[in-house]
């Protein structure tokens, strides 16, 4: 098991390195001109050259890469030393900017996944009890629908409905209202920090602001999760071993448990893939609700041609995805003995 984890982490690191290098070259090969973005199109050649020098774009590309990776000792810190570079827009360290924005995204995703699972798993199971029945049909059409929706648009609809019309939700303008002083940063997660600081009012306010974005995401996520749980449960209930368990006179509850476990195990893989997918997909919801998470940071950096920030975002998102996959594979192996590590 330990050996498996080490092997997976090693493979993951190699994969990350390939990715970093691929992204590094990709963004430099694309015909964008970050320099003129910063100095303006009408700047003098001198100012242009100065800016190019400041950004380090005048040096040979391999040197730039070496500098970024931190394998050129003369050039100072790089990736190897845990330094993601400096943002060209704000001038502050990408690492600290990501550390500020990432917790919001993780909070949003984790809450959304918890609620989505709590809602979707029972619904999927119930639908599977009578496949082809009216309830099953309805649930199925719902899952097909929810799984194919533009989340940003639903976010806006929710805003219109719950903020403008009903007035039960706050305006989509960030996590805390400008008048609220944020709690001191300990973990970076507002909900956790507010509790640590003993400020339940801030905690509740944050939850209130998370309400609509989480609801939007739960709606979108419920589609694929219900569909998958239902499908796996139908398969498990129709399987030979459940039939045989009934034939051997096992009590109903135990037969149900056999089916449940068999249905949940394969669902885990998909949840991991969804999590990784949403990590990048949260961009749109964050932008609708101005949550200031990693996704919005990504938008800002990309539109501003802020190369170090772009590279940092991709690296962090992929690294987290790989870790989530690994964790869920371990859980899967724990539930399903057929999966060997």
């Amino acid at each position: 098991m330990t050996r498996y984890i080490i092997r997976r982490l090693t493979v993951g690191l190699v994969q990350l390195l390939c990715l970093v290098i691929a992204v590094f070259f990709l963004i430099r090969l694309l015909p964008a001109d970050p320099v003129s973005r910063f100095v303006g199109l009408n700047s003098s050649a001198e100012a242009y050259a100065q800016a190019e020098r400041n950004l380090g774009l005048d040096r040979p590309i391999m040197v730039q890469l070496g500098h970024y990776l931190g394998i050129l000792p003369a050039e100072g810190n790089g990736l190897l030393q845990g330094d993601l570079g400096t943002s060209w827009v704000t001038g502050s360290a990408v690492t600290s900017e990501i550390a500020q924005t990432l917790p919001v995204t993780l909070e949003l995703l984790t809450m959304a996944f918890l609620f989505a699972l709590v809602v979707s798993v029972p619904v999927g199971m119930l639908a599977a009890l009578r496949p082809g029945g009216a309830a099953d049909k309805g649930v199925f059409v719902y899952s097909l629908f929810a799984g194919s929706q533009p989340e940003f648009w639903w976010g806006l609809l929710f805003v219109y409905l719950f903020f403008f019309t009903l007035g039960v939700a706050p305006a989509p303008l960030g996590l805390l209202s400008p008048l609220t002083s944020s709690p001191p940063t300990v973990t970076g997660f507002v909900t956790v920090d507010s509790l640590l600081a003993g400020r339940p009012d801030v905690f509740l306010e944050a939850l209130h602001h998370f309400m609509l974005p989480v609801a939007t995401m739960v709606f979108i996520l419920s589609g694929p999760i219900i569909k998958m749980v239902r499908q796996n449960m139908v398969r498990a209930l129709g399987s030979d071993f459940v039939l045989y368990a009934r034939c051997t006179g096992l009590p109903r509850r135990r037969v149900a448990f056999y089916a449940l476990r068999a249905a949940l195990a394969p669902s885990i893989t998909l949840i991991g893939i969804l999590y990784g997918f949403m990590l990048g997909g949260a961009v749109l919801i964050e932008s609708v609700f101005s949550l200031g998470g990693l996704g919005q940071y990504a938008i800002r950096s990309i539109l501003a041609f802020d190369y170090p920030a772009i590279q940092g975002v991709i690296l962090v998102i992929t690294a987290i995805s790989l870790l989530v996959y690994l964790a869920l594979d371990l859980i899967h192996a724990f539930i399903d003995p057929r999966v060997t590590l």
Partner: protein, 295 residues
């Protein structure tokens, strides 16, 4: 065998869903071809009337009659106008030409390349195809939406660049799907039989294995087209897609986003319904294809 004779009501309900899907997709394709032609206003030309709400549904029959009778000076704004004075109805029905074209082209390109590479990787397993799979792995571990943003924003916000970016991101899916199907088909008896009959390997691969390995990729196509529409709209929404004033659903939703807090819902809602229905239509179609294939 006599199953077709007696029609079960539940079956026809499943058919109903399929027909809904087909009609949505057909409408979208029709609008992609003729939307800008039948639009009452030029979708890229602003009128002087700004932020007009849509007429109440109760007034629609009257308006329709009067516009047919020709007793109106200008055609009615069925969906209202937005902050720039664009007629929303014209823009919503013209948008498929942008959205659907991008989605179909990106899907077609990635399908073509992905199936071809997938066949190679599955049928001829050697060092080269192994490398291909590793490259495809790395490509697939990119976060899709952010990568698409990067590609389009840095390459330039043009339709062609969006198509290429989406195709690049979707190709690994098709490689993987086709490869795994080829792997399971190439050990089937009919492939062996074709070889035993004296067919050269290339003929076995192209004439026997390829046609029998297409189904998963084709089914996935319907889903991918839907997601490509979502992605195209999403890119415009964050400002990394097609440029205004092109009639595009995501762009329209985005331009109405600030008004929705103020209660002006129509600039965002109508294009959103269009995206929602279109993508749902493709999802239904994909599901129906999958069900038929599995049975």
């Amino acid at each position: 065998m006599t199953a077709g004779a007696t029609r079960d009501p539940r079956r026809s309900r499943a058919d109903l869903l399929l027909w809904i899907g087909i009609s949505i997709v057909a409408t979208a394709i029709f609008l992609a071809a003729f939307g800008p032609v039948i639009a009452p206003y030029d979708p890229t030309l602003a009128t002087a009337r700004v932020n007009i709400p849509p007429p109440r549904p109760a007034d629609w029959p009257m308006l329709a009659w009067r516009s047919i009778a020709g007793s109106l000076d200008t055609p009615p704004h069925w969906f209202g106008t937005d902050a720039n004075g664009f007629d929303l109805f014209s823009r919503v029905i013209s948008a498929p030409r942008v959205d659907l074209t991008i989605a179909l082209a990106a899907n077609g390109l990635s399908l073509l390349v992905g199936v071809f590479l997938g066949l190679l990787a599955g049928y001829f397993r050697n060092l080269l195809t192994e490398c291909l799979m590793r490259v495809s792995d790395v490509l697939q571990s990119f976060p899709v939406f952010i990568s698409a943003m990067i590609l389009v924003a840095l390459a330039g916000r043009s339709t062609v660049n969006i198509v290429i970016a989406l195709a690049l991101l979707y190709t690994p899916i098709y490689i993987r799907l086709t490869r795994s199907e080829v792997l399971s088909q190439r050990v089937r008896g009919y492939v062996e039989a074709a070889r035993a009959l004296g067919n050269p390997e290339v003929v076995v691969a192209l004439r026997h294995v390829l046609p029998n390995s297409l189904a998963p990729a084709l089914i996935q196509s319907s889903v991918t087209i839907g997601f490509a529409i979502l992605l195209t709209a999403g890119l415009s929404f964050v400002g990394a897609g097609v440029r205004p004033p092109a009639p595009e659903w995501g762009l329209m939703i985005s331009s109405g986003a600030n008004q929705i807090i103020l209660g002006e819902w129509w600039p965002s809602v109508f294009p959103g319904v269009a995206v929602s229905l279109t993508v749902f239509g493709f999802a239904v179609l994909g599901n129906a294809l999958e069900t038929r294939y599995n049975n």
